[in-house]
Subunit: 205 residues, 2 copies
DNA sequence: TAGATTGTTAATCGATTAACAATC
DNA sequence: TAGATTGTTAATCGATTAACAATC
């Protein structure tokens, strides 16, 4: 089916399409076109058609795409037609914000545990969670079979934590620490660093 | 000097180089090579040399780059050799986390105000700040001459807030709301959406 | 049918890599 | 000097766009 190797850059756009489509569905729309979707996400219609057609023929000439059907397909392709259990490492302000964030609902993710190294924070209640001791992290992640983690630890601790996560079997790390991580092959990392994002814009000011 | 149009994709990598270099400087290192820097950030040495050489000849054959000098140059290129005043819109958990975040220090940014629409939140103290009424936002941003904003509002409010920010003269928006924004030409947007970032990785699991 | 829009091909455009002369 | 590493060129590789036949 999707036998050929799909470029990273295309995979990176699919969640953006999915997000826009889910929004359209929430607004009660039933169908859309590459043109319309493109206007919403700021990408050319041709590129959207090309990206989507990598995975099959999901549209109809003359009428466009069924929003519901395309959502289903994208969720299937991105493997978010299931719930991924996620751990948060670091119970600082950002860890709190993530733990309380409602936006993971219906996007395929469910936080199952939060860890911190600081003994003062261990046991603290955050929403429905209780902060667990980082010392037990590797074991707990293995037990729970968790493959996805979000790291909100200081830069100085980040590489060591990433090593532990990889060792525990985590395959996808969302890194909020302002540092590039070295991870074994097979482990994916995405970076969120507000300063870096801001610096990508100041050049143009 | 840097007369030619530099591709976006190169500008996007410069903050990553800068972050790695600042880390090296913190560790007391004085010089580095494209090879070494490349290993840190996961980018080929050839590409790093090519990227940097777009802006001048900052290295030395045989010895590489002076870390301090290259940091200075990158800060100058990215225009973060000054302090940008920044506003936060939305005083929810994420707004709190950003307001308390120490990582903007020395990266060129300084938060000057936080706004929220919710009258119950207006007046609330967050660190050194007091939450201001969103109704006064446009005026306050104009007064303060702020060009950079971070938006942590619900998706439903995001477009309207972005319109207001643009109207107030903001030219760079870091958007935490899970929605693509339409902004006038000349306004830059960067997106941070943890679900989208996670979905970029699940494909590979 | 007429109009609209897909999926796909070919052409264009842009980014990355490899290689090496220059030189510290 | 010998070794190392830059800056740059040319070659390769990959991504985007334009165009259009197919067809709903």
């Amino acid at each position: 089916m999707n036998a050929r190797k799909i470029p990273d850059i295309i995979i990176g756009r699919l969640p953006v399409y999915l997000r826009a489509l889910q929004r359209m569905a929430d607004m009660g729309l039933k169908t859309t076109s590459s043109q319309e979707l493109g206007e919403h996400v700021g990408i050319s219609a041709a590129q959207i058609r090309k990206d989507i057609s990598q995975f099959g023929e999901f549209g109809k000439q003359g009428t466009g795409y069924s929003i519901e059907y395309l959502i289903d397909k994208l969720r299937e392709i991105l493997k978010v037609n299931r719930i991924w259990h996620v751990v948060v490492v670091g119970a600082g302000d950002m860890g709190h914000a993530l733990a309380n964030y409602q936006g993971f609902r219906d996007r395929g993710f469910h936080i199952v545990a939060i860890f911190d190294k600081d003994k003062d924070k261990v046991g603290e209640k955050i929403g429905a969670f209780r902060v667990e001791d980082a010392e037990t992290m590797v074991e707990r992640i293995r037990e729970l079979g968790v493959k996805v983690a979000m790291m909100t630890v200081p830069a100085t601790a980040a590489q060591a934590v990433a090593d532990q996560l990889a060792q525990a079997g985590v395959k996808a790390i969302l890194n909020y620490a302002p540092i590039s991580l070295n991870v074994p092959g097979g482990v994916k990392v995405q970076y969120i660093d507000p300063s870096t994002h801001l610096q990508r814009m100041t050049y143009y000011l």
